[in-house]
């Protein structure tokens, strides 16, 4: 997808409006269903909330101030921590898998990638509840623990179950961009590095990591903030005890009907995403301009 280039088709004398007409339906959809809705919640995040549920309009910063309230700050802090852990684990494991795939024979690479794709395209809920079979009471892992003398009744709900299934849900998203940027690295660089006496860590730290930085940055962008918005996993595997920001947003909108506060929280998530996309964009630009130089 990154290789799409503007084709230099001959400029036509007539029908200059044609491409814009072709783009019109998409632009109308994006404007009506994405841009305007986001403007509306941005505005709602400054609205006064009705204690009975609802939106009283007006202008206030209360919704943002409330997010510092210990009740909400706790969830926000916990979510940021979980997101950071998940992004870091996805990055390390994703890097290893991407490196492994990119160093296999060209004919085997597609097979391995498809092996990563199959769980990724499997229904998200199915992927999540599949873990309950494994970690639940009487499941293979509990039975295994009993065999080695550890008494445990069930690993669902638990923090471990949440962490594992978050990794399971996001790992493929980290593998693809890292693999894409690793594939363009000249394999002879690895030989050159080892010929010059660089060890494994040095070869990676000084050659592979810098050259695959665009993929690494994209992987972090696609795992960190999106983890904040997850709401299914904390309920199904965490027992709902430690909600993520996603759970809070769902509750605020569907149960408490506190739209302004929910909107403010959504804006925080959105801003974090914009920020991480901007950082990833800068990294990609810097690395590419260095490559060109």
């Amino acid at each position: 997808m990154t290789t799409t280039t503007t084709t230099t088709s001959k400029p036509r004398s007539r029908g200059r409006a044609v491409p814009y007409l072709l783009l019109a339906p998409a632009i109308i959809i994006i404007t009506l269903l994405v841009i305007i809705p986001m403007i509306v919640i941005a505005r709602d995040s400054f609205a006064i909330s009705d204690p009975l549920g609802g939106n009283l309009g007006g202008f206030t910063l209360d919704n943002y101030a409330k997010l510092i309230d210990p009740v909400y700050a706790k969830t926000l802090g916990y979510s940021l921590g979980m997101a950071a852990i998940n992004a870091a684990v996805c990055l390390i494991v994703g890097y290893i898998v991407a490196f492994y795939i990119s160093t296999r024979a060209a004919s085997r690479q597609p097979v391995l990638l498809v092996l990563v794709i199959i769980p990724f395209l499997t229904d998200f809920l199915v992927r999540t509840f599949a873990w309950i079979n494994l970690l639940g009471s009487g499941g293979p892992i509990i039975s295994g623990l009993k065999l080695i003398g550890i008494e445990a009744s069930s690993l669902v709900p638990s923090q471990l179950a949440v962490t594992l299934s978050l990794l399971y849900a996001f790992l493929p998203v980290a593998v693809f961009p890292i693999y894409a940027s690793m594939r363009s690295i000249d394999p002879s660089l690895k030989e050159a590095a080892s010929d010059l006496g660089a060890g494994w860590w040095q070869t990676h730290a000084r050659v592979f990591v810098p050259l695959s930085a665009p993929g690494i940055a994209s992987a972090l962008m696609l795992t960190f903030v999106p983890t904040l918005g997850v709401f299914v996993i904390p309920v199904l595997l965490g027992g709902g005890k430690d909600p993520l920001v996603g759970n809070l947003i769902v509750t605020l909108f569907t149960e408490f009907r506190n739209e302004p506060l929910g909107a403010a929280l959504s804006m925080v998530v959105l801003l974090l995403m914009v920020l991480s996309a901007a950082i990833a964009g800068i990294v990609i630009r810097v690395v590419n301009s260095r490559k060109a130089a």
Binding site: P19, I41, F99, G229
Partner: protein, 264 residues
């Protein structure tokens, strides 16, 4: 160290498949509780097909999936065609606008759609579900088809034009047949994305409409049943079928970007 890394990677592949294998195995379990395996049985599949409520939600998901995927594929095709085959001023702007839903966290898209629908007094239901799903599938469909279009040899359409074909004939007889696999891929990927969506559906479905994932989620809150394992197994098979139809090579280009490296 390379060997250690290779072993870790192999273990990760095992990690990716253990839950799926467990799912399939437990779906054939004859025991009433999902965890303990007692013997082979197809009873959960039988119960699955007798569950009318579940079949209703399956139908809803199929309708939403087909409508959303059709819309996304048609609109995405037009956009991709404009962006690849024409010189468009502000190309980066248009492309950027179309891929916004891939960058904005889905939950933010969901709550903003809910807010707008309730502000504009649009009743939530089948139509709002479809609209919500179009938003998330459109960028996917557009990018898949853009990839295929920019990989087309430009000399093909030039040759057709030189031989006297009108632009429409060139499109219908040369370009579209070549793009058909990509159009199918875009449709199928949009369909699966819509079919398995839970986040957007949570906010756009409304009270009376339930999709299959929403139904699975609400029944999971009271616990995992063997019936759900059977359903999950069928969904895994369905995913495999889609990947086979789309084709391994195309799948790779879609997800990892770019053209494959030269094989040597």
């Amino acid at each position: 160290m390379d060997r250690v890394v290779a072993w870790i990677a192999r273990l990760v592949f095992v990690f990716l498949y253990i839950p799926i294998i467990a799912l399939v195995v437990y779906s054939f379990n004859s025991a009433d509780v999902s965890y303990r395996f007692e013997g082979f049985s197809l009873r959960w599949y039988a119960e699955l097909f007798a569950d009318q409520l579940l079949l209703d939600t399956l139908r809803t998901s199929a309708i939403v999936g087909v409508c959303a995927a059709l819309l996304a594929t048609i609109v995405g095709f037009l956009s991709a065609f404009a962006l690849v085959r024409f010189r468009v001023k502000g190309r980066a702007f248009f492309l950027g606008a179309i891929v916004i839903p891939l960058i904005v966290p889905e939950i933010v898209l969901g709550v903003s759609l809910l807010t707008v629908f309730s502000t504009a007094n649009v009743p939530t239901g089948l139509v709002t579900l479809i609209l919500g799903h179009v938003v998330i599938t459109l960028p996917l469909a557009t990018l898949v088809m853009m990839g295929a279009m920019s990989a087309l040899d430009p000399s093909l359409s030039e040759a057709a034009t030189d031989l006297g074909a009108t632009p429409w004939v060139t499109f219908r007889r040369i370009l579209f047949p070549l793009l058909r696999p990509a159009v199918l891929a875009a449709f199928l990927l949009s369909f699966t994305t819509s079919f398995s969506n839970i986040v957007i559906s949570t906010f756009t479905a409304g009270v009376g409409t339930t999709t299959l994932p929403l139904r699975i989620y609400s029944s999971l809150r009271t616990g995992l049943t063997p019936e759900l394992n059977a359903l999950g197994t069928l969904l895994v098979v369905f995913t495999l079928a889609i990947i086979l139809v789309v084709g391994v090579g195309q799948m790779r280009r879609i997800l990892a970007g770019g053209t494959p490296p030269p094989t040597n």
